[in-house]
């Protein structure tokens, strides 16, 4: 396997992580029609590492997350998570297309929080958080409820257990969605523009919760966001995307204060202007 170029950037944060190649994208390409979204992309992420993906819209950041979540299939290349390939399995020393069972096994380590929250409107808050632990992980109802209550307390919604999602504000819904994701005990948490649909004040609630989680856990996080201060606070490494390629990868202090690429500089200026 080729050494992923972006990984060489290293990742010192307040807690040093080494890139042990926990998640490896190898020569991934994806096009939608004529539009090339990802172009022969290779990079890797260490276990426990928190990586923020930045770049203009359409540069392929969200596609990266969606591929890891098996929501969008790559056209070519491989993705490995731990010992397993995500879209392939090894049979007699050969890589073949993975079956549903294999995909589910690998996918079980990953979960995602979405821009539009996507809570299940037919379930109350508590059940949104317990349903998958009970029916996917096989936990007992009591065990799942106890853990769900802990998590909902942590995100400040311990008093909304009986509410329906439609009765909550966007910021509250997103915090439930975070609790729902954590209830799966994921190794990898994907955050796809989780505050983009929220007013600044509600966004701040959500980001505070995520900061706490980042500080107190060793979950590997991949985060697509325009909240640059948050990215600077929590990530070990920032990847700058442009036209389906990573054009710069560096620790946040470096990329935000002293970007090497002109494209990164102009992008950051435009984003900071907005906020």
């Amino acid at each position: 396997m080729t050494e992923p170029s972006a990984a060489a950037a290293g990742s010192p944060g307040e807690k040093a992580t080494t890139d042990d190649g926990f998640i490896v994208f190898d020569q991934i390409s994806k096009r939608f029609g004529k539009n090339v979204v990802l172009d022969d992309l290779s990079f890797s992420v260490g276990s426990g590492e928190r990586v923020t993906l930045i770049g203009p819209s359409g540069s392929g950041k969200t596609t990266i997350l969606r591929m890891l979540m098996t929501l969008t299939k790559p056209d070519s290349g491989t993705i490995r998570v731990g010992e397993d390939y995500l879209y392939h399995e090894e049979r007699n020393g050969e890589l073949v297309k993975a079956g549903e069972q294999h995909v589910r096994k690998v996918r079980g380590r990953i979960t995602m929080v979405f821009q539009q929250y996507n809570l299940f409107p037919n379930m109350r808050v508590l059940r949104n958080v317990t349903e998958a632990p009970v029916h996917v992980l096989g936990r007992s109802q009591d065990e799942a409820e106890e853990r769900a209550k802990e998590l909902l307390d942590m995100v400040g919604l311990g008093d909304k257990l009986r509410a329906y999602p439609s009765q909550l504000s966007g910021g509250q819904q997103q915090r439930v969605a975070i609790a729902r994701a954590l209830a799966m005990d994921p190794d990898i948490l994907l955050l796809d523009e989780v505050t983009s649909a929220l007013d600044p004040e509600l966004a701040a609630e959500v980001l505070d919760v995520l900061r706490d989680i980042a500080k107190s856990s060793d979950i590997t996080m991949l985060c697509v966001t325009h909240a640059m201060k948050f990215a600077r606070d929590v990530s070990h490494r920032v990847l700058m995307f442009d036209q389906g390629k990573i054009i710069e990868a560096a620790p946040p202090a470096e990329i935000f204060d002293d970007p090497k690429q002109e494209r990164t500089r102009t992008f950051l200026e435009s984003v900071l202007d907005e906020t």
């Binding site: 979540m69 996507n118 299940f120 037919n122 109350r124 349903e131 998958a132 029916h135 996917v136 969605a177």
Partner: protein
């Protein structure tokens, strides 16, 4: 009208209700089977769902009934009980319309819901049962309500093949009393009242379903008009 004639009407009413209720239940089975088949990843299932829907939407329920009652016994030697033949013909027809309702409602569930279910690693079947269908069913109810009334009205077709439903009973009454306007007027009111009962029940069901999503259905038009007058007073 004598008590005996009233009896014709009353027994006919029971047959009409049976045809409607059993037809609706069996029709629901056809609707879900065909509607979900059309959304399946399996080509054969999709094709079967499509063939059924297109065929029975285009066929007159009366012609299907003729086949079940007159052709099946003579050509294939299969004799169905008349009531069952009536239920089957009506439900095949209404099920084809219902299948489109099912298909539309399932497809209208936002893609984000399915993606969230994948992100929580639900199996495809769990996604359908726990996430998609509970939401889709809520969206189906108003259309099903229309289908049910259509079905009620279509039950009158069976009087043509001498099943003694409400319409058949009314014809007997009219023949023996000669009071055409009176009898058919009564018939008109009877169907209207049954329809009213069904729509009211469906409306209640709709409210309960909406509550299962934490929503409230706005009160009916009449209630709203009254509320407005109160507010402006």
């Amino acid at each position: 009208m004598s008590a005996g004639l009233w009896n014709y009407m009353f027994e006919g009413l029971l047959v009409t209700l049976q045809l409607t209720i059993f037809g609706a239940i069996l029709g629901l089975v056809f609707a879900f089977a065909a509607g979900l088949a059309r959304l399946s990843g399996n080509k054969l299932l999709r094709g079967m769902g499509f063939a059924y829907t297109e065929a029975f939407r285009g066929l007159s329920a009366l012609v299907v009934l003729f086949w079940l009652i007159f052709v099946l016994p003579t050509v294939f030697g299969v004799q169905l009980a008349p009531l069952f033949a009536g239920v089957l013909a009506l439900s095949l027809n209404i099920g084809a319309y219902g299948a489109e309702v099912v298909r539309g409602a399932v497809r209208a569930v936002p893609q984000g819901q399915i993606e969230a279910a994948i992100a929580l690693n639900f199996t495809p079947w769990q996604r359908m049962r726990k996430v998609i269908l509970p939401q889709a069913v809520v969206a189906m109810i108003p259309s099903f309500s229309n289908n049910l009334i259509e079905l009620l009205k279509a039950t009158a077709l069976v009087s043509v093949v001498f099943l003694s439903d409400l319409t058949f009973g009314a014809q007997l009454v009219r023949a023996s009393t000669g009071n055409t306007a009176g009898t058919f007027g009564l018939l008109l009111v009877a169907y209207g009242l049954i329809a009213l009962v069904f729509t009211t029940l469906m409306r209640l069901l709709e409210r309960r379903a909406a509550a299962s999503l934490g929503r409230t259905v706005p009160p009916g038009m009449i209630a709203r008009i009254f509320r407005r007058t109160e507010a402006s007073a």
